[in-house]
Structures are given as structure tokens and as C-alpha cells.
């Protein structure tokens, strides 16, 4: 096996290194040091400016920079082509990507093309001291279990890392490294999928994924109208509303607010779960919350098994008083 070194597939967002890339450089540095090998990074974009140097400051020994107008925005075919060609040249032992819009698409495609071994949405990455293999820990069954995965012989050993799992790498501008331009043009005949349009959707208030407080409701809320009570509490707390799959299926809340395995995974400071039982697929979406609060009239409801605080009562008797008290406390 000739594959050597750790390669981070970086992302550029609005002219800067994306936060996940800085996180990956930190993890990649650690893995590379444990292996006694090099850490390299790949940056793709139409203009990469001084970002190569910046990646070095964050820990890379070598940065491969691919500049092409076709790489301006993420294009699956173009990015796959460039990254696959580079991997065939550099032959990394480990390749790390972010579990982002880009990584979720690019990693499995690259893996399919390179014949590597890929673990998606990883929560931890380490090197087994005995075998020197990458051990990737990832959630399975909607996060109800964790699986450790390895690739004995397939290379590269690939992983996408979930956002904000590790702290960003420390910047050290005195670090030395090499920025290497990637040679070769993109073969336009291999670009089969055309990007026709990109639409940014504006959301009212705070985005579910970014909210510090999420007030979620389940089928026990009873109606779309009753969801208004959750909105009131969310507004007082500067947060937003989430919902379970059944509540979304019933049209009480828009699909974009669905929390769970089939919806969004959120990790706010405070997650208030109202009148929802806590199916494994829902809990999978909120387990990362700092504090989980359950309000349910059924004291046997599963949500209490993951909650830090709970009230056993009908939510209709609780929410108005809770909202009023928060209003009083937060304005004081």
C-alpha cells in the first residue's frame, strides 16, 4: 500500500475558508502527527487568493489549489473530477471532508470513483495505535447507536465530519508550507449535470439549525392553531419552533421545521419538547441539545428519558404561564 498522508478537502465560503475546513485541518493535523505523515489540503474555487497560505497557518503542510471558473460554485461533476484526479496523483491514505452540502454529495461520489472506504457524518475520528487504521465513529439508527468503522485495505480511508464536533484549528501565521497549483484543465465533456439556478430561501426569524432555543411540538399539540402557543414562547426566548414528523405530516407545521432523522438535526442550548412522545427518529434530531425540557401529560413518555427537566402536565396549562414568566424574567 503506497497511500500516505492525510488530505483535507477544503471548502471556500464567501471568499474565506469555511469553518468546517478549519475544524478539519485541526483533526487532520492530529491524525497526520499520530501517523508521522503529512497533512495536505485541497482548495477548489474560481479565486483562491491567499487561502492556501491560510490553510498552512491552520496546519497544512501542502495545499493543492485548483483554480477554474468552472469551480466558482459547487458543481458535482467538476469537483469530483478535480478531486479524484488529485487523489490519484497524491494517493492519500486518509481523506477528510465536511458533512456539508458539498461533502454530502462529493464524498460518496469520490468514494465510488476511487474505490475507497467511506464513513459519513462522523462524530469522532482517530488512528488505531496498533493497526494505524482510521477509526470513524458515526451515528446509526438515527443516532440511537454509534458504530465504529474501518477500512482494512480500501484507500483512501474517507470520512465526512459533522460540523462543530471539534474546535477550530489554531492559527499560526509563522507556520511554513507549500502552495501547489493543480495542473490540468477540467474536461467539460464530463460535466453532464448543468446548474440552472441557485435559490436562497429567506426564513422569517431565526433559522432552525442556528437557533439557540427550539420549542418543538408533536401530535399532542392537537392542531395548527395550537402551534401558535409554541411560537409565542419561542419568540419570547428569541428562538424558533420545531415539530415532529407526525405534526408536519398533519400540516400543523411546515416540513422545513421538522426535527429528526428525516428532518433537521439541531443542537440548541435549550430544546423544549412539548406534547411529543419521543420516537427514536425524533430524538435523533435533538440529542445534541445542551438542555432538553419535556412537557407532557404522560409521565411514561419516552421524551423524559432524555430530558434534563420535565413537567408532567397538560401543555395547555403550562405554556401560557411559562411564556409569561420568561417574559418577566428576561425583561428584568
Amino acid at each position: 500500500m503506497d497511500n500516505k498522508g492525510v488530505l483535507v478537502c477544503g471548502e471556500i465560503a464567501e471568499g474565506k475558508l469555511a469553518p468546517i475546513t478549519i475544524e478539519l485541518l485541526g483533526v487532520g493535523r492530529k491524525l497526520a502527527d499520530e501517523l508521522g505523515e503529512e497533512l495536505s489540503a485541497l482548495l477548489m474555487g474560481s479565486k483562491t487568493g491567499g487561502l492556501g497560505q491560510e490553510a498552512i497557518a491552520y496546519g497544512a503542510d501542502k495545499v493543492y489549489v485548483a483554480e477554474d471558473s468552472l469551480l466558482d460554485n459547487y458543481n458535482s461533476d467538476a469537483y469530483t473530477q478535480v478531486a479524484a484526479n488529485l487523489c490519484l496523483k497524491v494517493l492519500p491514505s486518509i481523506m477528510l471532508l465536511g458533512h456539508t452540502d458539498v461533502g454530502c454529495d462529493l464524498a460518496p461520489r469520490l468514494n465510488g470513483r476511487l474505490g475507497g472506504g467511506l464513513a459519513m457524518d462522523c462524530l469522532a475520528l482517530s488512528v488505531d495505535p496498533a493497526t494505524k487504521l482510521l477509526v470513524s465513529t458515526r451515528p446509526v439508527f438515527g443516532g440511537n447507536a454509534h458504530a465504529g468503522m474501518i477500512s482494512k485495505s480500501a484507500r483512501p480511508q474517507m470520512a465526512t465530519l459533522r460540523l462543530k464536533i471539534v474546535p477550530p484549528a489554531e492559527r499560526n501565521d509563522s507556520r511554513q508550507g507549500e502552495v501547489i497549483p493543480v495542473e490540468g484543465k477540467i474536461d467539460p465533456s464530463a460535466l453532464k449535470v448543468k446548474v440552472v439556478d441557485r435559490i436562497k430561501e429567506e426564513v422569517e426569524g431565526v433559522k432552525l439549525e442556528d437557533a439557540e432555543v427550539v420549542v418543538s411540538g408533536g401530535r399532542g399539540i392537537g392542531s395548527a392553531q395550537n402551534f401558535e402557543m409554541l411560537w409565542e414562547l419561542a419568540r419570547v426566548l428569541g428562538g424558533t419552533v420545531g415539530a415532529t414528523r407526525p405534526a408536519c405530516d398533519d400540516g400543523w407545521a411546515p416540513m422545513t421545521l421538522q426535527v429528526g432523522q428525516t428532518g433537521k438535526v439541531v443542537s440548541p442550548k435549550l430544546y423544549i419538547a412539548v406534547a411529543l412522545s419521543g420516537a427514536i427518529q425524533h430524538i435523533a434530531g435533538c440529542l445534541g441539545s445542551k438542555y432538553i425540557v419535556a412537557i407532557n401529560k404522560d409521565n411514561e413518555a419516552n421524551i423524559f428519558s432524555v430530558a434534563h427537566f420535565g413537567i408532567v402536565a397538560d401543555h395547555k396549562e403550562i405554556l401560557p404561564a411559562l411564556t409569561a414568566k420568561f417574559k418577566e424574567l428576561l425583561s428584568a
Partner: protein
Amino acid sequence: MNIIVCVKQVLDPEIPPAKFKIDPEAKQVIPPPGVPPVISLFDERAVEAACRLKDKQGGTITVISLGPEKASEVVKHAIAMGADEGYVLQDEAFENLDSFGIAYVLGKAIQKIGGYDLVLCGRQSADWGNSQVGSILAEILGIPVITLAGDIEAVDKKLRVKRIVRDGYEVLEAPMPSLVTVSNEIGLPRLPAGVRIMIAARKQVPVWKAQDIGAESSQLDKANAHTEVTSLSVPTRKTECEIVTGDTPGQAAENLAAKLAELL
């Protein structure tokens, strides 16, 4: 328009956590007794996407499922929703395959069926969720792939796909045939009508073995697996739930607010 949809039968993700049990030695989940497995949620959306295209364009939908013979249940569910034909891919050699092995078997079955304009998969399975079979399958078939579709249209012999991204969506155009993985944003799957359920119940779902699709044993050899699971555990949560009380529900609510306000 001829569509092939890959579906998987999985443990019902709507079970309560208390029923979720694993065998850490075997690195397997122990299915709770009395809870029937279901079609993986995203795969059901993929069937829905196929049905919508068929409603508009006509054509056929063929469903394949790699799994035990019992997986004919999810194939029949898809037929009840509107699919025309279905096959189960079952063989001892197909058990516990990694993503490459699964994609290889699906690819062999798809090549046997042939004549397709579109292959659909769910964006990930609801159980192991490896989230890569669709993309590997597209590489094997040598066709373009679009992941995380929230809507699929066929316009002028081309596919127009809305790909869901974090802050909105992209509109992508792909030639046919292509492979598309479907996300839940596509919307709710239809409830099968009674008459379709009858049709599905009577439908024969042939079982294809390795030799029926020409799957080579060297490709299915576990020694050549690209990935393997080395451990399976249920994360321990040290949460003690503090039940907040009060003389009245209103008082309990106020006590809770006071506690939380300190933490925020």
C-alpha cells in the same frame, strides 16, 4: 419514461427508545418482537417521486429491494403506491454487504432489467444510513447522479431536479438516464388506494439470486469489503430528568422558567 426505484426494508424508526436493543457482539440490532419492519422513509419518498413522474409522463416503475425474502412486503407496498413490477434480491452471499457490495448487486439487477431512463434511491437508509449507495451505484452504471432531490420533473427528455441545500435549493438539469437520490422535502408519500392494495397483494414478486443477475462471488467476498463495522454501542446518556413541580400547573411552569433562565 421507465423508472427503477431501489427500496430497503428497515426497522421501524417510530419505535420508542426503550424497544431499541442491540447485540454489541454481533454488531447488529435486535428487532423488537411484534414490530413489523417498514420501507425506509426516504425510499418511500423515492417511490412517491416515481409515481408523480408516471402520473404525468406515463411509463413504468420497477422496484428492487435487496434483503430477505420478507422484503417482498416493501416491494408490494411500492406496487400498491403505483409501481408496476418488483423484484427481491436475496441470496446468502448478499447478507451483510458494505455499500460497495450493495451497489454492485443493485447495479447487476438494474443492468438485467435494462431500458431505464431514471434510477431513484432514497438519500440514505433509515437504519445504517451509510448515505453512499446511490452515488456508488451511479458510478458503477456510468450515469450522472444528483443527490438530495426535493423535486424531480421531466422536461424535454431531460430531468430537472431541485437539490436541497442548507440555505435554499439548486435547480439542476441532467440527461437521461441519470440516478437521483430523494430527500424528504419531496413531500408526503401517497396512501395506497384499496384497489391498488389488492393488485399488489396478488402480484408475484420474483426473487433473484446471485446467479440470476450474474453477480460474481469475488465481488461479494467479505474479505474484499471496503468498510467494516468494528463496534456497535448505544451511547450512554447520563441525564437524570428533574421533574419540576408546583402547587398548581402554573406554579410549576414558573418554577421551570426560573430554573431555565439561570442556565441560559
